[in-house]
């Protein structure tokens, strides 16, 4: 029993300390950061955050990121819903191969796609728009959403569909009015994971735009001469907050989403 | 083998119970004989599973002691108690073969391999599992899995008692009979004390020699199926056991006469003066009422007559009080009125639900 608590406590500390260190640095002045190692900010300052919230080059990064993440989440779930329904309810020509092919796209390395995406999205005139990133992220988020939703839908007995048709519901009305509320937790879980993977991705976002996402602005800052550690830390902290908020709201569904074993 | 004593045993899931409803199990003292086949019968939430888990040691009671053969085991861990338990949902170790499943409790206790094999063979024979010993437990049907769970209990030669927690819930109906019969046979052959929890009266009455009826955290009667039928100690036992259940009618009693809905009915004996504050009821089973069209007895309205195949049940009303009566095939009860006569020897008087014995 004691070793169990010890392992858990140790692991949770291991999770939290690096994040604490980032938060700690974000409230320090650069002078304090570089002069000595302090466990908490001795000259507490909000200056780093002020810079981010007043400089459009910084805060627009967040706006853009949230834009494409939101677009991608909506697109992925909206497209995945009917497809997942088809996979969970019917057999059709090539269904198994199609499913596997979709999954392989979840697994494909983004690095492989970086260059052709650059060409493709330039060719169709979407280069440097949030929509480009939103569409590009669909390549791994749609398969994921289909996979998660299919799991939830298979848990809904088919008799429900049949009863609804007998009661005179048309397919779209049945789907929206009856079926979607039934799998609401599944939609939540799928949206959560789409949000997560779109939010954390850097490579495609950086390739498809001229420094539009916040992550790419940060890497640019980081590689520029004369590290502004405090500013970088503050920017990092601000990227963690949306994720932390989302986790807090879905905390009761996390275990269930994972329980399907489909992430 | 063991005799089980429950000494002032009670359990509450919260500390310092004050109201009766705080108790999951009201304090009780009972002795369960060695080698008996007991059934714990009662509706959901009556505390029967709590009692079972206290005996097996999965739950520690908040008061009282549990004794096996006079030895206090209340604080003893589950694995040290020589108890086996079969659960509602079959528990088998999926990755192991049937033989390994049966051997598991013995190997865990460090028994030598030759002895393990002998025991496993014996138990497999008793349960008709010999042909399946080498199969993986994973693909088996639910009833086979339950047999393996039972086998894991029987395999330990020194097992004091085997507890069953609604073991037939997930078994197909046609397999239930077979498995129950086999269970009873194994009980008789092995002589192990078995305690069987169920909410199904047929299961309880066919399996057990003694049925323990529980109601709202209380043991209301322990008796043979016949005793439960003929002399229910509590009105709950009366209508929970039997189909249809006992008729319970509000009554007043004076000496050897009961008054029900204004009708005077003779009783088999004279009663002492009953507590004036108590709720007095008279109970009689539908089997012990005779119904006839002719005009002696108590007049009732016939509402409907149901035919069960072996006999008919007349649903009647005595001045608005619904009663059930078992009528023989040839009895004429076509009209809307009929007359009842009660067998005085079978009529019981209850005060606040409990049988009045003196």
């Amino acid at each position: 029993m004691r070793t169990k608590h010890f392992i858990l406590a140790f692991y949770l500390l291991f999770m939290l300390i690096p994040i604490y260190w980032l938060v700690n640095m974000s409230f320090k002045t650069n002078a304090e950061i570089t002069q000595q190692l302090t466990l908490w900010p001795e000259n507490f300052t909000l200056a780093n955050y002020t810079v981010i919230f007043t400089d459009p080059a910084w805060y627009m990064g967040y706006v853009h990121s949230i834009q494409y993440v939101a677009m991608n989440t909506v697109l992925s779930v909206a497209f995945a819903l009917p497809a997942a329904y088809a996979f969970s309810r019917y057999r059709f020509l090539g269904d198994k191969h199609l499913f596997f092919w979709l999954l392989t796209n979840r697994m494909a390395p983004p690095a492989v796609f970086a260059l052709p995406f650059f060409n493709l999205y330039s060719a169709v005139g979407l280069f440097d728009t949030p929509l480009a990133i939103a569409l590009a992220h669909c390549i791994f988020n749609i398969p994921l959403a289909v996979w998660i939703l299919e799991g939830f839908m298979s848990g809904v007995p088919r008799e429900i569909d049949e009863t609804a048709y007998i009661d005179g519901y048309s397919f779209p009305r049945f789907f929206v009015k009856i079926f979607m509320p039934l799998i609401a937790p599944g939609i939540g879980v799928a949206a959560f994971f789409c949000f997560m993977f779109s939010w954390v991705e850097l490579l495609l976002g950086r390739t498809l735009t001229n420094n539009m996402p916040i992550s790419s602005i940060m890497t640019r800052t980081a590689s520029a001469a004369g590290m502004d550690w405090g500013l970088l830390a503050a920017a990092g902290v601000l990227t963690i907050i949306p994720g932390a908020l989302v986790i807090w709201f879905v905390r009761n569904y996390i275990a269930k989403g994972f329980a399907l074993g489909r992430v | 083998m063991a005799r089980i004593d429950l000494a002032d045993l009670g359990h509450a899931y919260r500390p310092n119970p004050t109201k009766p409803s705080d108790w999951a199990l009201k304090p009780m003292t009972h002795v369960w004989e060695d080698g008996g086949a007991y059934a714990l019968l009662g509706p959901s939430g009556c505390g029967k599973t709590t009692l079972l888990n206290i005996i097996s040691g999965l739950v520690t009671p908040s008061q009282g002691r549990v004794l096996f053969d006079g030895k206090d085991v209340t604080d003893l861990a589950v694995e040290k108690r020589n108890i086996a338990q079969v659960f509602q949902f079959p528990v088998v170790y999926d990755t192991m073969s049937v033989a390994d499943n049966l051997a598991f409790p013995l190997r865990n206790r460090g028994m030598d391999e030759a002895a393990v094999q002998t025991r496993v063979a014996e138990v497999a024979d008793m349960l008709d599992l010999t042909a399946d010993l080498t199969r993986k437990a994973r693909g088996l049907t639910a009833d086979m899995k339950q047999k393996i769970s039972l086998g894991r209990g029987l395999v330990r030669a020194n097992v004091g008692a085997i507890l069953f927690d609604e073991p037939l819930t997930v078994i197909d109906p046609h397999m239930k009979w077979q498995l129950r019969a086999q269970l009873k046979q194994v009980q008789e052959r092995s002589g192990v004390t078995m305690i069987y929890v169920t909410h199904d009266q047929t299961e309880a009455l066919t399996f057990a020699k003694k049925v323990v009826v529980m109601f709202e955290g209380e043991v209301v009667q322990i008796g043979t199926p016949q005793e439960l039928f003929e002399a229910p100690a509590h009105t709950f036992v009366g209508y929970f056991i039997g189909s249809p259940g006992m008729n319970v009618m509000p009554a007043t009693v004076e000496g050897g006469t009961a008054t029900i809905m204004g009708h005077k009915i003779k009783l088999s004996r004279a009663y002492k003066k009953l507590n004036a504050k108590a709720r007095i009821e008279a109970g009689i089973r539908p089997e012990f009422i005779s119904i006839a069209a002719k005009k002696d007895g108590i007049p009732v309205q016939v509402k409907r007559v149901e035919d069960t195949g072996r006999f008919r049940i007349a649903r009647v009303e005595l001045d608005g009080l619904p009663l059930s009566v078992v009528a023989p095939e040839n009895a004429k009860i076509d009209g809307t009125t009929a007359h009842l006569s009660f067998d005085p020897a079978r009529m019981h008087i209850y005060a606040d639900g409990h049988l009045v014995r003196d």
């Binding site: 392992i7 858990l8 692991y11 949770l12 939290l16 690096p18 994040i19 260190w21 980032l22 466990l39 497209f79 009917p82 497809a83 019917y90 057999r91 059709f92 979709l102 999954l103 392989t104 796209n105 697994m107 390395p109 690095a111 492989v112 796609f113 970086a114 260059l115 052709p116 995406f117 060409n119 493709l120 590009a136 997560m196 939010w199 954390v200 850097l202 490579l203 916040i214 992550s215 940060m218 890497t219 980081a222 990092g236 963690i240 994720g243 986790i247 905390r251 996390i254 275990a255 329980a259 399907l260 074993g261 992430v263 | 694995e79 086996a84 528990v91 192991m96 598991f104 865990n108 769970s149």
Partner: protein
């Protein structure tokens, strides 16, 4: 419970098919196209057959040597992090509370690293592991150990491995936790009655139930670690030297840094084939496990 055959279901799948095909097939065609051509610039291409592939797969050439080095490093990295994360994840999931307020707290804290943007994961560790301003680097150096991930190969490897363990172990732990929660209490009670030791409970009850989630966990961790790009890119930039350069970093350098289209395309295809094969093996095993469980 056989599903009815209905080819009209294709209409429901079509939108997904189109958008994924747009993203997957068109680029892949471009890549295949590049991989068999050479260019002298000015958008003039000519046929090069399998030239790039033979160069890539021959370890004695510059490109081949570089490719196999990166591939080797990738396999080593994936091997090490799986060997750490899988046992650690199982251990943590076993240590997690089963009910009460602690569950939500554990879930939230553990899921946190998963939602940190990957470059910020890099940033966190870049800062945390530095000898001058990072707590970890400072403590390790104070203990008298020589630790500097920008110059020392071993330090760099340890840093990216610890970082990956920090980042992803929770995924395995959460998967296993969900798997463990699906085991009914009766199994544990039966095991206690059968006198099973803690280890026997783990081996006979918990591990078999975790088989499927572990398979998925290993698959995801293998794939993601095999194409890891952002985190080492931020922390070490692939260095010191090329010591932490994996296939993804190498490929991006080749494609977007040097615009060496033919070589990069050939590398992309081989890289993708490796991933595809692994993925297919896992998928087949998984389908078999599922089928076995249903029987």
């Amino acid at each position: 419970m056989d599903k009815p055959i209905n080819n009209r279901a294709w209409f429901l799948v079509l939108p997904v098919f189109i958008i994924v095909a747009f993203n997957a097939i068109l680029p892949l065609m471009t890549v295949v196209n590049y991989s068999v051509q050479d260019t002298f610039g000015n958008n003039e291409f000519f046929w090069n057959g399998i030239g790039w592939f033979t160069e890539l797969l021959d370890p004695s050439t510059d490109l081949g040597g570089r490719f196999f080095d990166s591939l080797g490093r990738n396999f080593m990295f994936s091997g090490i992090i799986l060997a750490i994360q899988v046992p650690l994840g199982i251990l943590v999931s076993l240590a997690m509370p089963k009910k009460g307020w602690g569950v939500a707290a554990c879930l939230v804290i553990m899921a946190l690293p998963l939602l940190v943007p990957w470059n910020v994961v890099g940033t966190i560790w870049q800062i945390f592991a530095r000898g001058d301003i990072g707590l970890l680097g400072y403590i390790v150096n104070a203990m008298g150990l020589n630790y500097n991930y920008t110059q020392d190969v071993l330090s760099a490897w340890i840093t990216i491995i610890v970082m990956d363990v920090w980042h992803w172990t929770s995924l395995i732990a959460l998967l296993c936790y969900a798997g463990l929660k699906s085991i009914p209490d009766a199994y544990y009670q039966a095991a206690r009655i059968d006198g099973a030791s803690r280890w026997a409970v783990f081996r006979t009850i918990e591990l078999p139930k975790l088989r499927r989630v572990l398979l998925i966990g290993v698959l995801l961790r293998f794939m993601d670690s095999f194409m890891i790009y952002t985190e080492p890119f931020v922390v070490t930039g692939g260095g010191p030297g090329n010591s932490t350069t994996g296939l993804s970093i190498d490929l991006v350098k080749l494609a977007l840094g040097q615009f060496d289209l033919g070589r990069a395309a050939a590398m992309s295809i081989v890289y993708n084939l490796i991933i595809l094969t692994t993925c297919w093996i896992f998928y087949t095993v998984m389908v078999n496990v599922d089928a076995e469980r249903k029987s």
